[in-house]
């Protein structure tokens, strides 16, 4: 079931063009920086700072940093929102459900494949940035300045050997993917509720915007830690590139994302099981 779903989605040109755009942007950023301003420091998250031409490993992180605010959430919302409602909009959902397979399994395989594509979206950004960066700036140790802890007495400088840098980039990719879980789950829920992929994708994007807007209103400050998408949560990934890394906020982030996933995916499960599928 999963294999069939995967093959079906892998054949869609739309999905490949989304991943292609993400890859192209990572490469383009590297090319522009490499050609014009490799020595200008770039920011990572809220406090990180790197000099691109010091090491190719900076570009994986820079590419992630510049795409994670809008581009990656949009891609995730597209993959998740298309999952069920895409099938409905083709009019083939009822035939899929008429097969001798439980609805839960249909939903589970769709969610799993959409999840794989979402992970791929984040990974594509990091990998293409990394490869382009290594080609442009070479295989050197990575140094990151932590501006929050930089002072006249301490530089806040972290250095990683090439292989460590590779591992940290992989870790950062996973954490960025983790922050997308709530957006993903909500888009899946919307996808089970509507026959129009457009509404489902818009729902996922809307969640991030409403959440960020609430996060930015000073009066709702106490709400901040419990919102699905926040500025502090989005910036947290860059901690793995610092020394010492402040990992204290990760368990809370994981808990909040897991809670939203349980609620939204649970609701999707209930809706999809009970829905009268007409398309």
């Amino acid at each position: 079931m999963i294999r069939i779903e995967l093959i079906k989605q892998l054949r869609r040109t739309g999905y490949w063009s989304v991943l292609g755009v993400l890859a192209a942007i990572s490469v383009a950023i590297t090319a522009i920086i490499g050609l014009t301003s490799g020595a200008t420091p770039e920011r990572l998250g809220d406090y990180g700072s790197v000099v691109p031409n010091s090491s190719g490993f900076t570009m994986g992180a820079i590419a992630l940093n510049s795409s994670l605010l809008f581009l990656i959430p949009l891609a995730v919302a597209i993959f998740a929102g298309e999952s069920v409602s895409g099938e409905a909009s083709w009019g083939s959902l009822r035939y899929l459900l008429a097969g001798p397979v439980a609805r839960q399994r249909v939903l589970a395989s769709k969610v799993l494949v959409a999840g794989l594509f979402s992970l791929a979206a984040v990974a594509v950004v990091a990998v293409f940035g990394l490869v382009a960066g290594l080609a442009a700036f070479g295989w050197h140790p990575l140094s990151v300045i932590d501006l929050q802890h930089a002072s006249p007495f301490a530089t806040g400088l972290a250095s990683f050997s090439p292989f460590q840098a590779l591992g940290r980039t992989a870790l950062a990719t996973l954490i960025v993917t983790g922050t997308m879980v709530s957006t993903f789950s909500f888009a899946v829920l919307c996808s089970t509720l509507t026959d129009r992929p457009f509404s489902a994708v818009a729902g996922g994007v809307l969640l991030t915007f409403v959440s960020r807007a609430l996060d930015n209103i000073p009066g709702f400050h106490s709400l901040g830690p419990w919102l699905p998408v926040t500025n502090s949560g989005t910036g947290l990934w860059s901690q793995v590139l610092f020394q010492p890394a402040n990992l204290a906020d990760y368990p809370h982030l994981a808990l909040v994302q897991a809670a939203y996933a349980v609620v939204f995916l649970g609701a999707a499960w209930v809706c999809f099981n009970r829905r009268d599928v007409l398309s």
């Binding site: 920086i33 420091p41 691109p52 581009l71 597209i78 994708v201 915007f209 009066g219």
Partner: protein, 280 residues
């Protein structure tokens, strides 16, 4: 032709809904400002401008335009432009439309005109509702703006503008932002002629603003070279009107850039649509 198209597009639940959300945004924004402390200084834009909402209701349209011009308004514009042709195709009625004794370019341009009118309407509505709601909440007083990029510890750069002058400048701001949406409009409209799935066209228009945001030197200094050629990056120049120095030197370049994007993508749309094999 334009009248028929206008009738068809305007009296749609989706159009009402979109315009309602736009107007609702301004109202919700005002309520949020009242509820969470209007005496607090708001940081607006990248300069940033410092505004105290309570000092004048005219701060609300400035905040509303600033907070929507980079994503929300482009989304609305992409929605109207992306739906126009692809929407007709997804209903399956495009072929009946082009079967009528009328040139395809006239059909295309009447659709473009209506989509543009709706987009402009959304923008004007946003500003007007914000002005009305802000006026009701805080009164219409002269607008006092602190330009924090020109201020130092010893000198605060404050510009105070009278009510009628503010109205004029907001009018210019609305015109400038509408001109700045031309690139997004044209891209979404072009994509709309190439697909029968409105989602693709709308997502394409939104992707243009997002890509523009990625290649923005304010957030990624390394891409300075391309910054000036990105479609949505200089959309905030109108904010300089409310500062003492009013540095508007980037405006002609930005308007020219929009014109180039507009001509190229509308030309592509025209080229594609007049040759397309319409099957839907």
């Amino acid at each position: 032709m334009i009248r028929i198209e206008w009738y068809k597009q305007f009296h749609r639940t989706k159009t009402y809904l979109t315009l309602g959300i736009v107007a609702g945004f301004s109202v919700v924004l005002t309520i949020a400002l009242v509820a969470t402390g209007s005496g607090r200084t708001e940081f607006v834009g990248d300069l940033p401008l410092l505004l105290v909402p309570r000092s004048s209701g005219l701060t609300v349209p400035v905040i509303a335009l600033s907070s929507t011009m980079k994503f929300f308004l482009p989304l609305v514009v992409a929605l109207f432009a992306g739906e126009s042709v692809a929407g007709e195709a997804s209903w399956g009625s495009l072929r009946y439309l082009v079967a009528r004794p009328m040139s395809r370019s006239r059909i295309l341009w009447s659709k473009a005109a209506v989509a543009a009118a709706l987009s402009g309407m959304a923008l004007v509505l946003l500003a007007l509702v914000a002005m009305a709601a802000g006026g009701l909440a805080f009164g219409w007083h002269p607008l006092s703006v602190t330009n924090s990029s020109a201020s130092t510890a010893l000198h605060t750069d404050v510009s105070v503008t009278g009510v009628s002058a503010v109205l004029g400048r907001l009018g210019i701001a609305v015109l400038y932002i509408s001109a700045g949406m031309a690139s997004i409009f044209a891209v979404a409209f072009f994509l709309s002629t190439t697909t029968r799935r409105p989602l693709v066209a709308v997502a394409g228009g939104v992707a243009v603003t997002i890509i523009s945001r990625v290649f923005n030197a304010d957030y990624l200094p390394g891409v300075m070279v391309v910054n000036r050629y990105m479609p949505n990056n200089d959309i905030d120049l109108w904010q300089h009107q409310f500062t003492t120095t009013a540095d508007l030197s980037g405006v002609p370049h930005f308007l020219l850039l929009q014109a180039v994007y507009f001509v190229v993508f509308m030309g592509l749309a025209q080229w594609w649509f007049t040759r397309k094999d319409v099957l839907d």
